[in-house]
């Protein structure tokens, strides 16, 4: 169980050796056959990419076995798209991230059919300034589908959410969509580390933005928001599927980088009575998924930059994406679509901009990796 920790270099060299060993056994003719066969397999699985526009029916159009078994075949699923972690600077400083955000908007606008709504996953701004948030608001105003906003720590810690709330409303809210109860949760509160240190708002913001310092506390939903969540769910029957959006992962991934929610266990306990819960989170800028008990977790892609994987704590179910090309500002980035089935389970597509899209099925998570494993990347990750 507790495999000894290996360095990324060791893992890389092991994977590389394994790949080369596999190839060495093939003569050229067989190698071409393998290539042709794998191309054929892709076609056969109709693993077609609903990337920027829908090439085939929505990924989950054919009801799969689990849905049929649950007696839910026939009921329509719903689809939403997401854009997340745009990290916009003032436009005089940086056009790179603007380009990513605009590309994501073009992407979701080209979807046919259009998603039911578009979730924005937080960290619209880089340093929480009004002009950054305003730039983001202008870009997101171009989205054709209704936009649901979530807050991230980069939006919050300059003025503790004043501007963001003025523009987008309260950070906690819920709504019902079809048969699913949807909760948007503010998960990036921190304990007060700034008052005693007499920090300016800018210093506070910079401290939080530098994730790996020892000054700030870890993210937490906090007592107030957890109470709000319990109250909100009090009227929701335990048979209702739950869809929860949070900026930070509602589990503990890697403390040093604040890929972390300190009261994750307490939040998970609130969600425990429900049969199926899907948590969609931002913040980690990488392909990332996990299953804890009744809860399936999915991490969203960023449009600004990809984070490397943390040295420890990566959920074993996650099939890592490989290292991004540093010369290609879009590599490792993207947006995505999620198809929520009537039973509350969600199939997800990572629309990686300069790579083939990757589909992560709910069945893969709820079966704890026994079925529908997403394809491994061609090269090792870092």
């Amino acid at each position: 169980m507790a495999a000894r920790h290996k360095s990324v270099e060791t893992k890389y060299m092991e994977d590389r050796d394994a790949a080369l060993r596999g190839l060495r056994g093939l003569d050229r003719r067989t190698f071409l056959k393998v290539l042709a066969a794998s191309a054929g397999a892709v076609m056969a699985k109709s693993l077609m990419p609903p990337h920027t526009f829908q090439l085939v029916e929505v990924a989950n159009a054919a009801p799969d076995k689990a849905a049929s078994a649950a007696g839910l075949a026939g009921q329509p699923p719903f689809t939403f798209a997401y854009i997340s972690d745009t990290h916009l600077y003032p436009r005089t400083l940086n056009q790179r991230f603007v380009r990513g955000a605009v590309k994501a908007v073009e992407d979701v606008n080209a979807l046919d059919p259009q998603p039911d709504f578009v979730l924005f996953g937080g960290d619209l701004a880089q340093l929480g300034r009004r002009e950054e948030l305003d730039l983001g608001r202008q870009i997101l105003a171009e989205v054709k589908a209704p936009v649901k906003m979530m807050v991230g720590e980069h939006d919050w810690f300059y003025d503790l959410g004043d501007t963001w709330q003025e523009m987008f409303g309260p950070p906690n809210y819920s709504f019902d969509w079809k048969d699913v109860h949807v909760v948007v949760l503010m998960s990036v509160h921190e304990k007060d580390f700034w008052t005693a240190r007499k920090m300016t708002p800018a210093e506070r913001m910079h401290t939080v933005a530098g994730l790996d310092n020892g000054i700030q506390s870890r993210f937490e939903v906090g007592d107030d928001e957890r109470k709000w969540l319990s109250d909100d769910l009090a009227k929701v029957p335990h048979t209702t599927p739950l869809l929860v959006f949070s900026h930070s992962p509602l589990y503990k991934y890697y403390r040093n980088w604040n890929f972390w929610t300190d009261d994750a266990e307490q939040v998970q306990a609130i969600l425990k009575p429900y049969k199926h819960v899907t948590v969609i989170h931002g913040h980690t800028h990488q392909m990332l998924y996990n299953q804890i008990g009744n809860i399936s977790f999915y991490g969203m892609l960023s449009t600004a930059w990809p984070w490397p994987y943390a040295p420890t704590g990566l959920p074993p179910l996650t099939v890592q994406m490989n290292r991004a090309d540093p010369f290609d500002q879009f590599d490792g980035l993207g947006d995505g679509q999620v198809t929520v089935r009537p039973d509350g389970l969600a199939d997800k597509i990572y629309n990686l901009w300069d790579r083939n899209p990757v589909s992560v099925k709910a069945d893969y998570l709820v079966s704890h990796g026994k079925t529908a494993r997403p394809p491994a990347p061609q090269f090792a990750s870092y």
């Binding site: 003569d27 050229r28 003719r29 071409l32 290539l35 077609m48 990419p49 990337h51 920027t52 526009f53 090439l55 436009r91 005089t92 400083l93 940086n94 056009q95 790179r96 603007v98 380009r99 605009v102 590309k103 073009e106 992407d107 080209a110 730039l135 202008q138 870009i139 090309d325 010369f327 290609d328 500002q329 879009f330 590599d331 980035l333 990686l352 901009w353 300069d354 790579r355 083939n356 899209p357």
Partner: protein, 456 residues
Amino acid sequence: MESASLSRRLSSDRDAIFGCATMKSARRLFFGFVAAAAVAVSFSLAAAQGPGPLADPKSTNQAGFPGTLYSWVIPPDNPQTPARIALGKALFFEDRLSADGKISCDHCHAPDKGFTDQLPTSMGIHAQFGQRNAPSILNALFNVTQFWDGRAPTLEAQVQGPVTNPVEMGMKSTDDAVAAIKTIPEYQKQFQDVFGRDVNFADIERAIAAYERTQLAFDSPFDKFMAGDQSAIGDSAKRGWSIFNGKGRCMSCHGWNPTQPLFTDQKFHNIGVSAHKSDFVPLARQALDVLGKSGGSSEAIDRLAIGSDMSGLGRFLVTKQPHDIGGFRTMSLRNLLVTQPYFHDGSQVTLWDTIDHYNKGGVQNPYLDGGIVALGLTEPEEDDLVAFLASLTSPEYADAAKQEYDLQFKRSRTDRPQRDTAAADGDKGRGPGLAGPFGDIGPAQNVENPALLGGD
């Protein structure tokens, strides 16, 4: 005044680019050609019609020749035997491989034009034009995939495409091509000698591929420079090499290293070339529809690539992955001054035009590659880059390249259709989505070229 001194500087650089060493080796080659041509004429029917010395197999004894890579890319099931190569050469120049008996491979891949036709897009049978610029055969053996969109995996596999494409050589089928060759007794004998069997298309493919694998193009002034001869290229080309690795970002796709000195990453990128005239999304839907109906065979892809508007979708026709929309293979940069015009549709006339295209950050479209950004290159920097590209000319093309350089240089002083200095410097937004409120800011002009730092 400034421009006069600039052109003076450039003309002295030009002499340095095509320097004495190059002229000497050109002379040496010339005498070699005379001898080789005399031999060829006496033995081969096709050679008698004059493929010329530039069509001869090239020596592996060239500066910069990647020996290890070469040993990897020769397939074990198609060895480079002299008999195979001779047969392949005859077939390469064989008009009877086409439906009207007039179009041979060299019609669009002419040795004296760097194995291209120097046309924007190629003209095939019955004077029909295709949609793509003829890629060079030079160093094509090192390509991981063939064609602009990589729709064929090997030199063998690509032969069928042009032979049976209705706007190229126009054969109804490969069987027709075999039948045409079979009627010629010399070929019947040669196929028996080389392969020990009757004429068949797989062996036609093998022979042509074997001949094409003899077209090695290294030994350029740049190769000699990298081998240690500081005087092989001029100062302008040296500055160009620095820009190539630094501010110009060229190296990120057109990579060079001693084991793979090919100036290509062998990948596919949308740099916005066909965004001028294509509305990608409806076009992609149309292509999927057509390919769906026809089963998506390689013939179907080949026809769309050469004979339809959907050609501009590039790699997408092969993979059907949206991130490949408008993506085309990164081409090598060797011998560019004999393979003009440039890009997959031959839309750019001079090297200055192609650099202008990159300098302004390509043409905005939703699938533009993430590596394409405004570069902020100045005019002298562009001139230096062209001087560097000129130094990638192999000796047998030195004279032709010098002429073309002079023509392009002259043209570039007055005619620069792609130049957009404001976009290159980031002074204006690009595309309707970016104009106005999201106005781009440009690359910093005062950045020191990293390639020039830390030297002597």
